[in-house]
């Protein structure tokens, strides 16, 4: 059994395909696919300041590594920084912050850290202790998105890059279908947002067409997978239910996730057109952009104030 393109030993069989690739051919394939996505959807342009949202996990560190390589090849005409959000989850986030710090130091990338505690006065641990019935993931997602946008804007970013992969996108598409939240789906895609607004930093997803397994393989081959570390609150999540459901479907019917994303990409221009006139207000409390009077993050902050 050899690589499809050379005589080396394969490290992966590509999803939804019979192709087996060795380490070197897989890395070439992976990086070419990312560059193709960047070029096709104009994710990165000259003089951009890209802020990479870093969790310390395999997806975001692989993205940071690859984009750093990409920027260096372009004589650093593109500025690259990293931003990490500290939710305040003991035994989970503290170790991934250390991983991210070490990695950024080795790559000479400036890392900024924003925290829930500084923003809301409480860590997620404290919130979960007081409000046991709170669904951590939904609240956490709202605050994380809010802080990523707010701080990347403060850092004068022109784009915010996230390590979202094809599996993540397929999950988001199905979650929005299950909740009849198509307006939210209109904001998905390789580059997010329905219309330009200086208050919103456009988010880009260079791993959009790569599966979680491909990203994990790339990360493993670059020593970017650290000790197994799972968020202690993750069982609360609706996303994980959808993730398991899609993984089961993929095992039974290979290509399911690719089909979900490919079908979605076909209808995305229509969704963006339909929702392009949606109004963007300023939150009455924090002035951050929102579709209603008070933004979701301020609603969360109010809820956990007492």
């Amino acid at each position: 059994m050899t690589c499809k393109f050379c005589l080396e030993k394969p490290v992966i069989q590509l999803p939804n395909s019979e192709k087996k690739l060795c380490k070197s051919c897989f890395i070439k394939y992976f990086e070419r696919k990312v560059i193709k996505t960047i070029n096709k959807y104009k994710l990165i342009e000259k003089n951009d300041h890209i802020v990479v949202a870093v969790s310390g996990g395999k997806d975001s560190l692989s993205l940071l590594y690859l984009l750093n390589k990409y920027c260096q090849k372009r004589n650093n005409k593109i500025k690259l920084s990293a931003l990490q959000i500290n939710e305040g989850i003991k035994g989970y986030r503290d170790s991934s912050i250390e991983d991210a710090k070490k990695f950024c130091k080795s790559q000479r990338i400036k890392l900024h850290i924003a925290s829930y505690e500084k923003e809301t006065g409480k860590t997620l641990d404290k919130v979960k202790k007081k409000y046991k019935d709170t669904i951590a993931c939904s609240m956490c997602g709202i605050l994380r998105r809010y802080l990523l946008n707010k701080y990347s804007r403060k850092m004068k970013a022109t784009k915010l890059a996230t390590g979202h992969n094809l599996d993540d996108e397929a999950q988001s598409i199905i979650m929005n279908q299950f909740r009849h939240n198509i307006a939210l789906s209109a904001r998905l895609g390789p580059i997010t947002g329905v219309k330009k607004d200086p208050r919103f930093i456009p988010r880009i997803k260079p791993f959009y067409f790569l599966t979680e397994k491909e990203v994990a393989t790339y990360a493993y081959l670059h020593n970017l997978i650290f000790k197994f570390n799972e968020c202690p609150y993750c069982e609360d999540s609706n996303r994980f239910f959808i993730r398991d459901m899609l993984n089961d479907a993929e095992a039974k019917y290979p290509g399911t996730k690719h089909s979900i994303v490919a079908s979605f990409i076909e209808i995305l221009p229509l969704l963006k057109k339909k929702y392009k006139n949606q109004e963007i207000n300023s939150c009455k409390l924090c002035k951050e952009p929102t579709s209603s009077d008070i933004c979701s993050a301020c609603k969360v902050k109010e809820k956990i104030k007492s």
């Binding site: 069989q13 969790s55 599966t211």
Partner: protein, 64 residues
């Protein structure tokens, strides 16, 4: 018998199976959720193991 290290559970189990895909089936592990290594090298699901082999199943999880 081959040994399988389950990183998520941090434990090692023995198996009678010699083909990696059959090991995953017997452990009820979805192949899309793990990467598999032997001696720190990635291996494919159709790899046939020897009785002395030790493999690791590394779960793929999002950083959160």
């Amino acid at each position: 018998m081959p040994k399988v290290f389950l990183e998520k559970e941090n434990k090692t189990v023995e198996t009678k199976e010699l083909i990696v895909s059959n090991i995953l089936k017997s452990l009820k592990i979805n192949p899309t959720t793990v990467i598999i290594t032997r001696n720190n090298e990635l291996i494919l699901e159709n790899t046939v193991l020897s009785k002395e082999d030790k493999i690791s199943l590394i779960p793929i999880i999002s950083g959160g």
